[in-house]
């Protein structure tokens, strides 16, 4: 099955190089994540792949066809969930699907047969005649997902599909995406949520300034780019006793061991009833002897390390500091590679 392959993609707007030689290919049946801060070039990549933007250089094949030359035909086999909902506000849920199916040249009768199943899949079975403005944000997203499936595509593009949704709505979207993957569909996902990428993506590429700075499975990327464990250290605000239950800190220290990648157990420790020291000052003075790498943002020190026991033992004896011990995740990699500065 032909999916999407992109080679040496370049695109500049004026003096700004948005894509600088991007290369990647989707394997049939996988979920591939495009990750990156705002302005990394994710949306431009999707637009190029769909033939809606002409790249300055590079080759693109979508559904086995060259893009942009035959982009329109290639889109027959692709379903798209855009970043912003663009459902038709004048139509009901069912009419949205019907009208969209016509753009794919689908027959009226086939569509009428398909619509109830699509609405069912989207969890909108009783909502066929609902106006769009009566639907919640999560329902709109699910309807947009159903709309992307009108043509039974082999390949789905999802541009930040869960942005702005509550946890229930996000989990439902994730469930549906897993079902689609189980049906053998290929998915290209862009997201800002690292937990979403870790959960769904077989492989991912982290982009910054128009090129990949890391690529592989979530585990590979984490293993290749960052220490396995993280201890976040915070100052205790106001010095009030606000630690865990009695004895918690000591117990945590005894059990400290390489954390489980799938079930991070947050561990809190420390007590704030003594002299105060900010986490930043502590990090400057003492963290280096325990951690491979220390990053301080505001009042939090992030200690990256392979062996956490000495640090946890040290922290258990400290007053005025709290900490969270957890396995390193994709967000740590992302922040390490793309920096902690805001990208607006």
């Amino acid at each position: 099955m032909d999916t999407l392959s992109v080679e040496g993609l370049r695109k500049s707007y004026g003096a700004t190089a948005v894509l600088q030689g991007l290369t990647f290919a989707l394997r049939p049946g996988e979920c591939y994540g495009l990750l990156g801060p705002n302005g990394a070039g994710k949306t431009t990549t999707l637009r190029c792949a769909l033939g809606l933007t002409q790249p300055d250089a590079g080759t693109i094949r979508l559904s086995g066809l060259p893009v942009p030359e035959r982009a329109r035909e290639a889109r027959l086999r692709v379903g798209i969930v855009p970043q912003m909902d663009n459902l038709d506000p004048d139509f009901t849920a069912a009419e949205n699907l019907l009208v969209y199916g016509r753009y794919f040249g689908m027959k009226e009768r086939d569509m009428r047969e398909r619509i109830p199943r699509l609405l069912e899949f989207a969890g909108l079975a009783g909502r066929a005649d609902a106006k769009i403005n009566t639907l919640s944000g999560g329902m709109k997203r699910r309807l947009t997902l159903a709309r992307a499936l009108v043509n039974d595509p082999d390949l789905l593009f999802l541009d930040e599909p869960t942005t702005g949704l509550d946890p229930q709505a996000r989990h439902l979207i994730w469930e549906r995406l897993k079902q689609l993957l189980a049906q053998g569909k290929t998915v290209l996902l862009t997201t800002h949520f690292m937990d979403e990428a870790e959960r769904l993506c077989h492989r991912l590429g982290i982009m910054d300034r128009g090129r990949f700075i890391a690529e592989g499975s979530p585990r590979e990327v984490i293993a290749a780019h960052i220490e396995p464990e993280v201890v976040e250290v915070y100052g205790e605000p106001g010095g009030a006793p606000a630690g865990p239950p009695q004895g918690g800190a000591a117990k945590d220290m005894e059990q400290a061991q390489p954390a489980n990648e799938h079930h991070p157990l947050p561990r809190e420790g420390g007590r704030g009833d003594g002299s105060l020291m900010s986490a930043a000052d502590w990090a400057k003075a003492e963290a280096a002897q325990f951690a491979t790498r220390v990053e301080v943002t505001g009042e939090t020190a992030f200690c990256y390390l392979t062996e956490s026991r000495p640090l946890l033992r040290h922290l258990a004896g400290r007053q005025g500091l709290r900490y969270l011990h957890r396995p390193a995740n994709l967000e740590d990699v992302f922040l390490k590679l793309t920096g902690r500065d805001l990208r607006d």
């Binding site: 809606l52 663009n86 004048d90 016509r102 753009y103 794919f104």
Partner: protein
């Protein structure tokens, strides 16, 4: 990329037309009333009001003179509003165009669909005024039925001109320039309300290049039961405007949306 390459047209414009038709059908009654009320008020108010003060205009009662102008005016207004405000909403505000372009529909198909839809709606407005004029006995002969294809052609012309503005517009406010600098002067210079011959020579020369005056020069004889003089010239001018403006509108839309 050459944004102004020739349009590549296909029947895939039709689902876009259908989409707009479906929206219109839901709001058809207020929409038809709105489309009819304005030109009707002009035609009846000016026709019977000013008409009683005038002996005859061009050899016929003023309201009979005005009827053909009102049909063209109504067609122009309807096409213009659809191509400006409604199309801009779909392009910019509702992002309907973005959704359509993600499907296997090209921008060329999409803009053609908008053009065909605006022209259809305009033709309906023109036809409705024609029906009212006929019912009031203001139409001399069945020759007036030829104004049905004419209003569709004029609808294409004014829709295409409107789409040029839409492709350029940063916001709805921009459209005021189009009305005050182009549509309103054109209405007064094109023989809708009074014969162009009343105007100074310089204005008559200007009038000769305006698309609305060519539509009026076709419609008025048809309403009065005559075959228009130089009919093909007027048709060619309207068609020429339609093709050139559509091409330009599409080029501007490509530059705006496919960059």
């Amino acid at each position: 990329m050459n944004y102004f390459r020739p349009p590549s047209l296909s029947l895939r414009f039709f689902p876009v037309w259908q989409r707009n038709f479906l929206v219109w059908r839901k709001l058809a009654i207020p929409s038809i009333l709105g489309n009819l009320a304005d030109p009707m008020i002009y035609m009846l108010g000016l026709g019977y009001g000013i008409g009683t003060l005038l002996p005859e205009v061009g050899g016929v009662p003023y309201i009979a003179f005005l009827a053909a102008g009102a049909v063209c005016f109504s067609t122009m207004n309807s096409a213009t509003f659809e191509a400006l405000y409604s199309a801009f909403s779909r392009m910019q505000v509702q992002k309907t165009w973005e959704a359509i372009l993600n499907a296997p529909v090209s921008l060329d198909d999409l803009v053609l669909g908008e053009l065909a839809w605006a022209a259809s709606k305009a033709a309906l407005s023109g036809a409705a005024i024609l029906g009212v004029a006929a019912a009031l006995g203001l139409v001399a002969s069945p020759l007036a039925l030829w104004s049905l294809p004419l209003v569709f052609l004029a609808g294409l012309t004014f829709a295409a001109l409107g789409l040029v503005m839409t492709a350029l517009a940063p916001s709805y406010d921009f459209f005021m320039y189009y009305f005050t600098l182009f549509v309103t002067p054109m209405t007064l210079l094109s023989g809708v309300f009074f014969p162009v011959e009343q105007l100074p020579a310089a204005f008559q020369a200007l009038s000769a290049v305006l698309p609305l005056s060519h539509a009026v020069k076709l419609a008025r004889p048809l309403f009065l039961g005559e075959v228009p003089a130089q009919a093909w010239l007027h048709i060619a001018v309207l068609a020429g405007y339609a093709v050139a403006a559509f091409w330009l509108a599409l080029g501007l839309a490509r530059r705006r949306l496919l960059k």
